[in-house]
Amino acid sequence: MAAPAAPGEALGVPDDIELLRQAGQGNHGAFRILVERHATYLWGVAHALTANAHDAEDLVQETFIAALKGGFRGEASVRTWLVKILVRRAGMLRRTRWHRMPRVALDQAHEQEPAGGGEPNPAATTEARLDLSEMLDSLSPEHRQVIVLRELQGLSYEQIADALGVPRGTVESRLHRAREQLRTRYEGYMEK
């Protein structure tokens, strides 16, 4: 079964690769379409990685700007490539900050309790599904990265190792620990 077309493709709008090429040459219309296709998803992933709306938005901007400089080699989809850029930049953002505490989201649409507070209660949230940011909030930044790249992007261990600049064995062990933490925390949410 063919993959669903991205918004606009059915109407003859260029695919992501062509849009990326045109945007890199200064075509604002192409940039706009790329943003409309991927910004929401990237922002969601960025927020899951940083647990902070301000940082998430900065990361998304930096990701799109970096994408304009080229470097896409066609080894994966454009979206996966963008996510890899975003995850690398999230790692760089974290390394520039010595003391990183999860902050309450600054935007008005996401006022919530401070991240990491309390155990999740499956009974209390049967109607309100956990979003990805909440699920990953209890993990360390390194563990969030491998979970995002493996579970959301389906990258292989080798690809994740390459994206993060760590050995393959490190990817495996981080993935194992992250999954253990999540399994322990959200066992009640999983389908039996």
Partner: protein, 152 residues
Amino acid sequence: MTCDQSDQVQAYYDGELPAERRAVVEAHLRQCEPCRVQLAQLRGLSGLLQSAPLRALPAGAMQRLDQAWEAVQERAVLRISSWLTAAAAAVLIGALIWIPMQNRHASELASSQREPDVWQTVAVMPAPEQREESGDQGIVLAQWMADELSVR
């Protein structure tokens, strides 16, 4: 309850095992309930993560992305302008240095090719072929003096 093969279950689940190793793990899974439970939990967790909704883009984010685009384009224009300015300045400086050097060189060349002054050659016997050809008074005087001295 865990199994000493449990570290293979994750790699098996992620499709990271070579074919022969994969067959071994599959045979093990048929006999090991803890590993089967672990495999089921990995599948359940993946389902939960992949179906979890993402946070919505905050209001104004798209406009700010557009502004970021504008800023990038402006920086690109400024960068090109600064290159052109630097290039023009380099050409101007080069011209200010090179042209006088060329003029000085030409001047030195010209001075090396002109006729010597009279005082530089008045006491020097000109070559015979020059005596009759030259109309220079200095040479005529030199010829007379040479002739007078040679007679004595």
